[in-house]
Amino acid sequence: MTNDEARQLIRSVLHQVAPEADLDEVGAGETLQEALDLDSMDFLNFVVGLHEATGLEIPERDYPQLSTVEGCVTYLTSAG
């Protein structure tokens, strides 16, 4: 997966969980939860959405890596 594909995927999964959220509002290093007012359930649904879209098994211990846009992109692109 390329960086652009990863970003596109994040955008579409996020849109399902929180349609009002604008990914462009998230500053570098800011967590999605903080910047977009997501609660724990939203974040969990976001991770589940990523799993469903990619088939990747995402263990609980990796969740913190997915809390920023950059982290998500790295995670998704390095996972293949």
């Binding site: 929180a18 349609p19 967590t31 939860q33 359930m41 969990l44 913190p64």
Partner: protein, 596 residues
């Protein structure tokens, strides 16, 4: 399935529980004694929560003891001693004086869990203004409604929350005279039009000396909004005397000892986060963990381990999420300091109680109370056997009963004005004999609604329970349509009214859909106006629309289109029938819904 009783005491109990024997304590307990365990204001000037929580410790040997151990989102630690907390809350009280706020006026707090929140809360109580904490995950609409209903004159918030949620509603709140923004350098973001004041600058300029004025124990101290089946949120009024309950329950139900490190994971925007996240631990002079971050299994276990948490008060949803993360994650941490774990918010399923023993090495003690009760009412205690799935037995000093309800769901009152109690094992409404210190004293501006909470000499909780032959209470279901998601009450009417503002919506019914993790999630059934097509884009649009206004904590998780909502003859939407349909029950058989 029959769950085995968990027997007590647990051998390695050290220190031994404050309450050694439930029945003996219950028989000996009086609220007068409980009141004597507190100091009162010097010179007999009354009883003030903040004096008991902070000043009396700051003036004594616990002066340098850490009161708040604040962890920010990035793991930075900040320790605040009782002496420091006394000074900073004095500064806040002085600011309120300077701004011309008078005792009894409402000060709202909308903040992330940072030290400033606690300073503002305690300063407000010292000043004898009324503290009303709001949940930071509320959207602008719940915030506006509560500020309006509570006629808030001051709001304390952060730059981000101000920009996102307050700036747009400020003009519609004529009673709101001052908005104080914490957060130093970034506060300039909000300086436009000078509609806000810089809290940091005000604190720096204020005196650290403050004498709490005479406080009648019956003076209003706290305002907590809660949701009902119909209508707008209700502001439950609590008074300074509530601190007697906060202290007694901290001792009996949470087993707080002087050297404890206590962590209540609830946000002060909900009553648990105030009664047990602010007041109770501080009144006991213990160290209280304040974690700004959101739930994350690994992070939470690290906090328990690294900070040496001894008493932990959390919620079923969090515990179930930890359970889902697996026992391995728990086992990787040294949780040996942990002594007592309690849970509140919704009934704790027996699986989780037992999981606690495996993963944490300790059973989890469920307890029951609500916004109106102000403090824990029914609980499992350190000294008492646990029957997994039961909420426990009434707190010493609390008389609880199970009352028979008639066919209309009302408590049956006999000719002589007394209520009829259910037989052992029979379900009925959980009721409490009024008179405990933290009982709410009213709903702000709504006497009628307050009075409707009482019948036959009892306070009616709205929850259906049964009591077994040994006096353990078991939750059966709610007696109304209020939704409980992740332990938070959500009024269906609030959600319905917001969705009704969308141009596509003709009608809407909102229910709590059972959910394995959250207890319930909010689900909305929407009937569209003519000319609108039910499709995925519109569904997402409605979801975003409601989330933007209500915030993630209140907005629906699911929206379904339904052009045939069930109505009563008078035209009201029958939420119970919607719920029956959702659960695949026959529509006539709504009697079993309470048990769902």
């Amino acid at each position: 399935m029959q769950w085995e009783t968990i027997h007590k005491p647990i051998e390695h109990d050290d220190p031994s529980p404050n309450m050694g024997d439930y029945v003996a304590e219950r028989d000996a307990f009086t609220w007068e004694d409980a009141r004597r365990a507190l100091d009162g204001l010097p010179g007999g000037r009354g009883l003030n929560i903040a004096h008991e929580a902070v000043d009396r410790h700051a003036a004594g040997p616990r002066r340098e003891h850490v009161a708040l151990l604040c962890l920010d989102r990035h793991g930075e630690r900040n320790e605040v001693t009782y002496a420091e907390l006394a000074e900073s809350s004095n500064r806040f009280a002085n600011i309120l004086d300077t701004l011309g706020v008078v005792a009894g006026e409402r000060v709202f707090v909308l903040m992330q869990r940072t030290a400033d929140l606690y300073v503002a809360a305690l300063g407000t109580l010292k000043h004898r203004s009324v503290l009303c904490p709001l949940f930071a995950a509320f959207g602008p609409e719940p915030i506006r409604q509560r500020l309006e209903l509570g006629t808030g004159c001051v709001l304390v918030t952060s730059p981000t929350l101000y920009r996102r949620k307050v700036a747009g509603i400020q003009d519609r709140l004529p009673s709101l005279r001052h908005v104080l923004v914490a957060g130093g350098s970034t506060a300039s973001e909000t300086a436009e039009g000078a509609r806000t004041l810089d809290l940091d600058a005000l604190l720096a300029g204020a005196s650290s000396q403050y004498e709490i004025g005479p406080t009648d124990p019956e003076d209003m101290a706290l305002l907590h909004f809660t949701s009902g089946t119909t209508g707008m949120p209700k502001g439950a009024v609590h008074v300074h005397e509530a601190v007697v309950s906060h202290h007694a329950t901290g001792r009996i139900a949470l087993d707080l000892h002087p050297d404890d490190v206590f962590w209540c994971t609830a946000d002060p925007g909900w009553v648990t986060g105030t009664s047990y996240g602010i007041v109770s631990p501080l009144v006991h002079g213990v160290t209280s963990i304040i974690d700004e971050g959101d739930f994350d299994a690994e992070r939470w276990y690290s906090v328990l381990e690294n900070e040496g948490v001894t008493v932990w008060y959390t919620a079923p949803t969090a515990l179930r999420m930890l359970m889902q993360a697996g026992a391995d994650v728990a086992k990787a941490h040294d949780l040996s300091r942990l002594r007592f774990v309690a849970s509140v918010g919704e009934p704790l399923n027996p699986e989780v109680v037992v999981w606690g023993q495996e993963a944490l090495g300790l059973p989890i003690h469920d307890n029951w109370w609500q916004t109106e009760t102000g403090g824990i009412m029914v609980a499992n205690y350190a000294c008492m056997d646990i029957r997994p799935g039961s909420m426990g037995r009434p707190l010493p000093g609390i008389e609880a009963a199970v009352l028979v309800r008639d066919d209309h769901g009302n408590v049956a009152v006999s000719g002589d004005g007394t209520a009829v109690e259910s037989a052992v094992g029979q379900e009925g409404e959980l009721a409490l004999r009024p008179g405990w210190p933290s009982m709410f004293r009213g709903y702000l501006g709504d006497t009628e609604r307050y009075q409707s909470c009482f019948a036959g000499g009892w306070y009616l909780s709205g929850d259906l329970v049964r009591r077994d032959e040994d006096g353990y209470f078991w939750f059966v279901g709610r007696g109304n349509d209020v939704i409980k998601s992740s332990g938070h009450l959500i009024g269906p009417f609030e959600v319905e009214s917001t969705l009704m503002e969308h141009p596509a919506v003709a009608e809407v019914g909102v229910i709590g859909k059972p959910d394995p993790l959250c207890g319930e999630v909010v689900k909305a059934f929407v009937t569209l106006r003519a000319g609108y097509e039910p499709n995925e884009d519109l569904r997402l649009d409605l979801l975003g629309f409601s989330r933007k206004r209500l915030g993630a904590a209140v907005a629906p998780r699911e929206i379904a289109f339904d052009q045939h909502l069930p109505h009563t003859e008078s035209g009201k939407i029958m939420r119970r029938v919607l719920k029956a349909r959702e659960l695949g029950l026959s529509e006539g058989d709504t009697s079993t819904l309470a048990a769902s």
